[in-house]
Subunit: 285 residues, 2 copies
């Protein structure tokens, strides 16, 4: 069976690779001031959100990404209370963060309100905690927000961004990462979506370089499956301000008072293991 007009494809031209999903119909399409947003009903993966022709998430597998963007950082910090999410407009990461009872405030800053409006309609399960009194949803420029935020005012910054092109580009840049370092309190953690090591190793290396330059004391890239991205895997990278990242609250993670579908304490420990080819690539920084 060929990939015809009843399929939607994401192509990574630089690697001559594409991933396609068979769709039933287009549910939604809007050109926002920042990007093109489409939502499809797929044959087997529930709904699919696409931004500028890049697959963002499906109903079926988004748990992998959202859990890994939230829980490793939150179970590494000794007592995270003040969390900021830059991007993350689908609200799935926000939902995971709010599962931690010790968290007192979460500010989510996505530049594109259309993403959240589409998530509310087509991924309502991800938005089920948006009414939590601890949550603030802002639609603003995350780069400017970070530039203006007070020193040492945040425990965890989660950069839940698109690829480093279009609106996501500046979120991979050294100036933004340096601002994150300044805004984090001692023991603070920055965690960002850092692409696939099979496709974008240079992006990953540059991300680590910017973290070193900003003064972060430890860095770890965690590899995890992402079945609807071409290449099938993605990393999140954690960087800390004075905290070792190979230690986390394993007992708390083992007794977490909420369900997960991918994350658990063993998976967290396991994700800290770095494959040889990634270790080699990052050793030359």
């Amino acid at each position: 069976m060929g990939v015809d007009a009843s399929w939607i494809s994401e192509t990574v031209t630089s690697m001559g690779a594409a991933f396609s999903l068979k769709v039933r119909r287009k549910l939604h399409s809007v050109q926002s001031p920042y990007q093109k947003l489409d939502v499809y009903e797929t044959e087997h993966w529930g709904n699919l959100m696409v931004l500028d022709d890049a697959f963002m998430l499906t109903s079926l597998e988004n748990f992998l990404y959202h859990e890994m963007m939230a829980h490793p950082a939150l179970f590494t910090h000794p007592a995270p209370k003040r969390v900021v999410i830059i991007g993350g407009g689908d609200c799935g990461t926000l939902r995971e963060v709010l599962r931690h009872p010790g968290v007192e405030s979460v500010v989510q800053i996505d530049i594109d309100e259309e993403v959240t409006r589409a998530a509310e309609r087509f991924f309502p399960e991800l938005c089920e905690s948006n009414g939590d009194a601890r949550a603030t949803l802002a639609f603003d420029d995350g780069i400017r927000w970070m530039r203006e935020a007070p020193d040492g005012s945040v425990d965890i910054i989660i950069v839940d961004s698109t690829d480093p092109v279009g609106p996501g580009e500046g979120l991979f840049g050294p100036a933004f990462i340096a601002d994150c370092h300044r805004v984090l309190a001692p023991q603070g953690i920055l965690v960002g979506q850092s692409e696939s090591p099979f496709y974008h190793m240079e992006t990953l290396k540059n991300y680590h370089r910017a973290m070193v330059a900003a003064g972060f004391t430890d860095r770890r890239s965690l590899l995890f499956p992402q079945p609807v991205y071409p290449g099938g895997s993605i990393t999140c990278t954690l960087a800390s301000k004075g905290l070792p990242l190979d230690v986390f609250r394993e007992d708390d993670a083992g007794r977490k008072p909420f369900p997960t579908r991918y994350y658990n304490a063993e998976v967290h420990r396991g994700a800290l293991a770095m494959p040889e080819f990634i270790k080699d690539a990052l050793s030359v920084l």
Copy 2:
């Protein structure tokens, strides 16, 4: 950019998903008595071998699969000497097994000689150990071979098979798995390619069921990236005859006298962690 005739796609109809690679030209095509075999030169992944329209391996990423099929089992067994590979005609797993100096003999039984002939031409690096005095390459029916093999005569059986359709089908069946159990010596380990948990969870569950039924005392599925399979991840499943599989020769793995690009002792330990959704699925066996 669309997926047109200059791309080769593998489609998983049951999941409405496809992965495609851009190719420069077809290098080889043969219909063997068992399957259709094609080799392409891709734009970015080196050469690609395709069996019955399913992607088998590329030059760029086959290290992930071959290392994970060989090293976890070989570093778990206390002293593996006699190894049998069923399938594995591309010889990449054989090469990894032969890196272990304690291994005294490896018999590889692939039903289709065309696979090895194509590997010799288009993936010569995988065949570089085929002349090792410890290696025997047989082209025969692995199911019959196992049925006729003496009790307790093998330390490790590696089932490096295609998907459970066509020539690979019987290699997932209970009769074959029971034969493997009989042929393994005490402390012996069976390891088999066991598909993606995102696509074929029932296959994985049935594999575990057959292992339980055969009398294996411990079982572990290790998830690892496989960027050119739709879904991007795959599992190998280990089953042992009296040996716990959560313990391995970590010191030996840490001091391994050969290079790897994915596997290391931490990755092995990490791969033993089971994500919640896989744990849940296997808990109901």
